[in-house]
Amino acid sequence: MTTTLTELDRARDVALDLSGWGRRFVFYQPRNFAFWGYLALVGIGVLTFFSTLAREYNAYGEAIGRAVTSFAIYAALFWWFTDRIDHYAKLPHKLMVVAFVWGGFAATGTMAANANDAILAMYGKTFGQVWALNWGAGLAAPFTEELAKGSGLLLLIALAQRHVRTAFDGFILGAFIGLGFQIVEDITYAMTSAGTQFGANQIGASVGTIILRMLTGVAAHILYSAIFCAGVVYLFGRPAEPRKIGRGLLLIAIPMLLHGTWDSVAAIAGQNALTLIGLLIGTIVVALIIVARVYKLTVARERDFVRDVMAPEQARNVISRIELDAMAGNRKARKAYRKAGRNRQERKRARYVLNAGYALADELAAARGADTDRVRFARSEVARIRAGLPSPW
């Protein structure tokens, strides 16, 4: 079958239109009700968090300083990683910040904290305090916290209707919401730990909590919210993601179940330390396997967008067929492309060509497929790197 360039260009336009890739995101939207809702709820959360921080800082300043520094570095690492896995039809960074702030302030202080306290107290009153200590957290937090974080995606969709188009967009934004939630929750936990020795030995009292939260955070809120928010997109459907109610509900239920299991491991394991460690590791491994599957499931559509956007470039010989396959392929495909080089220099160049190809895709997306100066320059960069010429800039 023969595909004409016109058809390829049209397919690119459709892909860019559907995906929202390259569109500029503007946060200030006074005619958008979600903008005011977001501001109000985040504002309450910011006030709650910083008033607590300011009050406790006088007593636990040393521990708070250490916790904020440690978790800022931790957040930066996760931010880099999450941003890195979004290397197909990229979301605007500004939107990621908006997601992070929702998770950190609105989902925690405005929503989940109030509900958790009330539900735990009611469990204690209804089923007794021993029962509440055993199972309360596992039967409160998965509902309150996942809903609080996930509801943020509804506002983000309303704020960025032209950007949040696929389940993968939900996955990435969910990860950032979860990251914000986790960092603020971790700082709060560290603050609480600092007071467990009556305010003495603050660093010693909180460092264990900081390390534990960092280690276990790998498979916690970031992961839960990523899966949950992918489920939200499937549940409601988006222009580039047909509605799949069953899949959506399943992806919403899975992180709740994982979260509930995680919060109940101490009660499930009993007093056996080995069982406890085994359960903790088991839960983390299962969670990581599930999130990898969800990533694979959701990213396919994004790869199709890359193929549609870059296919006209391949037809015009800007990139080769193998390069197009590598760009629209998974990590293994990109690695195979790089490794195909005969020597180290060729392999290195192959990596640079791929990076230049992605930069060209981003420029094409920003230009909505038009032939702008920036696009022509990005094309010339692909050619220059392939020819092994030094950059004149």
Partner: protein
């Protein structure tokens, strides 16, 4: 396979015009807002209302009655125990021998009798009872920043029924008064705080003194 005959400059057509993000179609405006953004935002507001108002209100209306019976002993982290006064209500804390499955008792317990409140909290501490009291005073002052309760008067020695010596001091606040007692069992500190309304009298009640006197550590601390 592309059709070579169709070769030409890439995407010669100008991109389709897109209105800016803030633009709202005339038929989608309600009260000056984008009608499409009302439902999701209202849905989130409903969730916030349930979480932050409905649940706390329901919780406040659910009564809680866990009355101390004669012979009850409350246990805290580190095998610290005390005997609560019969008839007082347990707000938080677990009875000895009725711990959670993990075996980890909570670090604090609170019981109440009307406006009187008695809280015992434990935690690791290296030092003697006097140093613990100094630490408690420093932390309380830092947290309250001149507001709320503050320590008044000189510390005095207090001895439990088991012969453990601790330090106690009076506290007063805008609406409450009471005392703080500090004990150290090995590497574990214990803080007991009894508070009541300012008008309840300057002297701690016999019940409070009995409860402070019953504080002990039973057996070696589990790690």
């Amino acid at each position: 396979m592309p059709d070579p005959g169709a070769e030409g400059s890439s995407a010669a057509l100008a991109p389709r015009f897109e209105p800016d993000e803030g633009w709202v179609p005339a038929d989608e405006r309600r009260f000056g807002l984008d009608r499409r953004t009302l439902r999701p935002t209202l849905a989130v507001f409903v969730l916030v209302f349930i979480m932050s108002v409905v649940l706390p209100v329901i919780n406040a209306t659910v009564p809680y009655h866990d009355i101390v019976r004669a012979g009850d002993v409350l246990e805290l982290e580190g095998n610290v125990t005390f005997v609560p006064e019969a008839g007082w209500g347990i707000t938080s804390g677990l009875r000895e021998g009725h711990g959670p499955i993990s075996g980890q008792y909570p670090a604090a317990a609170t019981i109440e009798d009307g406006a009187l409140k008695f809280t015992v909290r434990t935690g690791p501490f290296h030092g003697d009872a006097g140093q613990l009291l100094d630490q408690i005073e420093a932390t309380t002052d830092a947290l309250n920043q001149g507001r709320g309760v503050h320590i008044t008067g000189a510390p005095a020695t207090i001895v439990t029924a088991a012969g453990k010596e601790g330090t106690t001091v009076r506290v007063t606040g805008p609406h409450t008064a009471g005392l703080i007692a500090a004990f150290v069992f090995g590497d574990r500190g214990v803080k007991a705080v009894a508070t009541g309304p300012t008008g309840a009298g300057a002297e701690p009640s016999a019940a409070v003194l009995r409860m402070i006197g019953s504080i002990s550590q039973s057996g070696p601390e589990k790690r």
